[in-house]
Symmetry: C2
Subunit: 340 residues, 2 copies
Amino acid sequence: MADEAESVFVGIDVGGTNTGAGMVDAEGRLLATVKKRTETSDGDALVRQLAEMVRELLTIRSAKAAFPSSPETGALRAVGVGIPGFLDARRGVVRHAANLPLRDFPLADRLGALLGAPVILDNDVRMYAYGEAAVGAAAGYDDALVVTVGTGLAAAVVHRGRLLTGGDLAGEIGHVKVDGNEYACGCGMSGCLETLVSAGGIVRQAKELMRWKPSVLGEWFPERPKAGRLQAERSMTAEDVARAADLGDAVAAEVFEQTGRALGSTLAACAALLGTDVMVIGGGVSRAGERLLSPVRRALSERLHPLHSERLKVTAARWTDEAGVIGSALAAKERGGHTV
Amino acid sequence: MADEAESVFVGIDVGGTNTGAGMVDAEGRLLATVKKRTETSDGDALVRQLAEMVRELLTIRSAKAAFPSSPETGALRAVGVGIPGFLDARRGVVRHAANLPLRDFPLADRLGALLGAPVILDNDVRMYAYGEAAVGAAAGYDDALVVTVGTGLAAAVVHRGRLLTGGDLAGEIGHVKVDGNEYACGCGMSGCLETLVSAGGIVRQAKELMRWKPSVLGEWFPERPKAGRLQAERSMTAEDVARAADLGDAVAAEVFEQTGRALGSTLAACAALLGTDVMVIGGGVSRAGERLLSPVRRALSERLHPLHSERLKVTAARWTDEAGVIGSALAAKERGGHTV
């Protein structure tokens, strides 16, 4: 029987478009990864695809190289799956997942049966937060708040290396209404924080400000093409706004200032309640770096007692996609892995 | 040796003025209490007083009656002490406590040596929250947020019956700055939530509004006594404002509306982050009941997604003083009590 050092854990980050899987050792070192377009025809087909990805990881060369003493590969101890949507994590059931063919689907049991290993399930943002807490920017801190800003906005709390798993609505900070914001949100409400703090929110704010102020974004993405010019071939993205900010564009700078401030102001009370030591900002929009982080810091230090704000670190996530995979694997190790 | 059923645990709630102690059984039933004026001459004198109170509890009649099979009383398993101030809870050291002669004082070790039982230490608000979670208004809920509104304002998080103990600054929601508030705070900042949401904050807001609007409070507490009338013999309290609200006074009603809204608005993001099921409001000001709770609920339902706000219960604490004592005792049972 393989000893503890040869145990491996697989984490899977299921997305509406792509799904990544990675194999880690007991220390959280990433040994191999694989990525596929997500199978969305039905739940059973998705489960077969996930099982296939796990088997692929277990047999690829890089894994073998890491475990020379093992005849085939390390022994699979547990699998963790991160899913965007409403879950019953304790029972391993996906209640509803956006853009995935899963409704009240017992994913953990089905995948576990195919693999002969325990499978645990959790929200993708919580898995990501756990990865950042274990081997990322939140590692070594007692109280971390991990925020992901991408298509949506969500957060998770890590306390002394353990993920605080609240009810199925925990982490949904994107749908808190903020003062002075009236944008309609996809959730049916208006004024949600996510209508500002998200990739779409950044574009929305830029388009609004462009109506009143000159901006290079207006040249790149003219609302009505000028004579002799072509209509922009694609829609504006948050990356475009970041690029404009880099060129010193005042509108783009103001958009990031508003976005960071909205996030920092809303999370100040959370940080005070939890005694947060580090706030880690990940997700696609975090690639904007200091443009986003600086106003978050300013808003927090205006609202928190200096004793707290002076020691509260606000930093970008270490990982982009990998934290979700590593976090899923390590959560499986903690909650579902057998010890030898 | 006494069996498990006869074990008792003592909780002590040390205040700047009075100190309460209570003895509970393993189920958290309060068997006896004792209350004294806090000994504030020095740390050792305070420790001797606390030990004396514990011994008193162990020998009083009500305790004996509860344990007829025991020759003397139940066997003391552990003691929990709640202290207002900055603590190093892990080491059992009081770093600094307002109105108490304790600075870097190893209270847990000193008291433990006198009693021959393990002593654990924690912040008084967290102990109170733990009591409400175990045997009070938050009992049976997965995710509770317990807020105390009294001289100050603080909060604690309970997750599945376990207290989330953050760093030494955790829970200090009173010193989060809120928009549109410029009152100076005792902490050195201005605009802190506590300058509105506290006993003093309620009086402060009432005095401000009385300058512009007629109020029965102006008759009870005239700024300058009218001819033939005496100056009010005492200062206005939050209870007076509550009494005025009961009489339909518009100023008093507006004060509670503002206070509850400020609290609910600030905590909305916390509730969303944690997936809070129940928000329990305790402390002296919570005696104002629905006058305070209704605007908290309104502010929360304006800011949270209906899926969440419709199931989030906002309720007054079950206990006033006793939750601190019971919570301290039960925290001692969980963290410090030997099992037989």
